[in-house]
Amino acid sequence: MTEFQGMRMKHNICMVSDFFYPNMGGVESHIYQLAQCLIERGHKVIVITHMYDQRKGVRYVSNGLKVYYLPFTPFYNQNVFPTVFTTLPVIRAILVREEIHIVHGHSAFSTLAHEAMFHAKFLGIRTVFTDHSLFGFADVSSILANKVLQFCLSDSNHVICVSHTSKENTVLRASLKPSMVSVIPNAVDADMFLPDPSRRDPSLINVVVISRLVYRKGTDLLGNIIPEICKAHPDVQFIIGGDGPKRILLEEVREKHELQDRVRLLGALDHSQVQDVLVQGDIFLNTSLTEAFCIAIVEAAACGLHVISTKVGGVPEVLPADLMRLAEPRSKDLIQALNSAIADCRADKFPCPFEAHRRVSQMYTWHNVACRTEVVYDRVAQDQPLCLTERLKRYRECGPVSGWLFIVIAIVNWLLLLTVEFVMPRDLIEVAPDCRRLNNKKKN
């Protein structure tokens, strides 16, 4: 079972998601950073994801983090085609080979995460799930996705959400017990986001926006605000990083009001270029219509910018009132907030950027996230794995029609597992050597 090293339990953890390196994004960097911190704390971590172009098989990223790129091609929205049963043999082989105790799935959008967690339960492995996004309840896609989530989490051991609003949302969507959900926020690598006031232009006030230019991120609101603010304040300029289908809207606004020299559209930015763009600004503007956590505003605050954001989702919980200004998601309110922020900027009333950086770097660290996640793993390791009949009873409670469907799927999967166990018995699967532990033992 789990080893004890000193006073702390050591776990063998498998992170699963469709979203991982070489893709860059919030979920991807969350998994990577969390895995790195857990390895530092002495746990064994592997990652399972799908193949990216020609990248198939086993790869090692920094610190000996082993990544399995399974030979399933992404089908829609970077997710593999949901077949449930075809992933069983390979995932079982990996989980047995690596002697995994806990499977940690990420992102409700990821089909691979749901499937891996489903198979793990048949092997008596504990499961933990982290939800990174907010969902609605009313449209067809949300209803189906919530049902799948309810199925997946009905027999999971624990759930982690990135904000209190996200916890409320997930509890309602999957009908969970609130005590089963922990709130562990995202974190930011503060050393990558250092302020640099020398890069700012003292004669101008730069408003920076870095986001995907899609409807969900409120690009329409941004398009309404830019002309008003530029008209009212001749010394304000906009720097907009990011790309998306709504870019054309901003280009049209720029054309129509002749703001070519006051609105810069930088296009898609690499994660490494973000800090460079942020330090040029005085104010960071976020106009999202929905956000579970919004790591962008934390990065901006770490660079010493004053943040203005729409009051949606989990955003009000992220930063204190002196570092962030909130406004309702309406053009009028955002313009008002921007006006008062610009006035404060002129009057030099913003907190010192280095002080802001120091405060933010202490609020959200990956080390803190890893410690809190470890607490979850310790709790989960004490849980008794559920037997099949108990799990079927829980599936039955999911609904009058869907309950039976889930039971059928579970039974078919169990029969498939028996077949696979017969064809490839567990004791014939060679256990993978853990290079780090071997190295540590050699050193000691």
């Binding site: 009313a138 904000s163 998601p329």
Partner: protein, 261 residues
């Protein structure tokens, strides 16, 4: 100090701590309407009016091809309907009249071509296509409701296609032209009846007329259509009202904001 809903400070509680203010901002059934029986019954007339008009259109074809109905009568009826609508309209729109004239004249010019258009296609195909298209028209028609399934362009196109199919089967140019004008009235430019007693009267008249005329052709179909009308007019509103108490929409801070400017 009480527990605050924030993430940037360690409040000294476990991560799965659930405060008593949990789900405080949850709101249920914020935008639901309550329905009353008789007003809903009156509103259901929109649906039965349209289905009856489509039935009358198909019946016009049946009677005209059986030479029981003269095309002159059809043209006269359409003209009368327009005149009535014109008289009762609040704003007299001359551009509308111009468009109508354009449709009429071009329709009359095109009728000779149209009446022999589908000569090489079998009658069964024509009837099957027409049935399918009219069903689609009824399904996708915009009954002045904001539902994702209604699509005015799809509905109009299906109606026009169905009328072209049928019009091309009639015996003379005048018959074709008459059916085309009727098609414009039924699918494109239906005279609007204001809400109220006139609306209810129009519903009753149209339904009765179509049921009676179908009955002249086939009593079984008339019976089925009458049952359908009663179902939509009385049973569906009752069903809707009985389901309303179980409505359970969930709203809260997690909802995607709507841009209201």
């Amino acid at each position: 100090m009480g527990w605050k809903k924030i993430l940037y400070e360690d409040q000294g509680v476990a991560d799965n701590y659930t405060d008593k203010s949990f789900l405080d901002e949850l709101r249920k059934n914020v935008n639901t309407r309550t329905y009353e029986f008789w007003p809903t019954v009156a509103e259901s007339g929109v649906i039965t009016q349209h289905t009856s008009s489509v039935c009358l259109f198909a019946l016009a074809y049946v009677y005209m091809s059986g030479s029981l109905l003269s095309p002159h009568l059809v043209l006269l009826a359409c003209a009368l309907l327009y005149l009535l609508n014109w008289i009762s309209a609040k704003e007299r729109d001359f551009s509308h009249l111009r468009m109508l004239a354009a449709f009429t004249f071009s329709g009359y010019a095109v009728s000779p071509v149209l009446s022999t258009l589908t000569r090489s296609i079998s009658t069964d195909t024509i009837y099957a296509m027409t049935t399918l298209m009219l069903l689609a028209n009824v399904l996708f028609h915009d009954y002045s409701a904001d539902a994702p399934i209604t699509s005015q362009p799809v509905s109009l196109n299906c109606g026009v296609f169905a009328s072209v199919c049928l019009a091309s089967r009639l015996q003379s140019h005048l018959h074709t032209f008459a059916l085309l004008v009727l098609a414009v009235v039924v699918f494109a430019q239906r005279p609007r009846v204001p809400r109220g007693k006139l609306h209810v009267l129009a519903t009753v008249l149209l339904n009765a007329a179509s049921t009676f005329l179908i009955g002249h052709y086939s009593p079984l179909l008339a019976g089925l259509y009458a049952v359908f009308c009663l179902f939509v007019t009385f049973l569906c509103p009752a069903w809707l009202i009985s389901l309303q108490p179980s409505k359970n929409t969930i709203h809260g801070p997690w909802d995607e904001a709507e841009i209201k400017d």
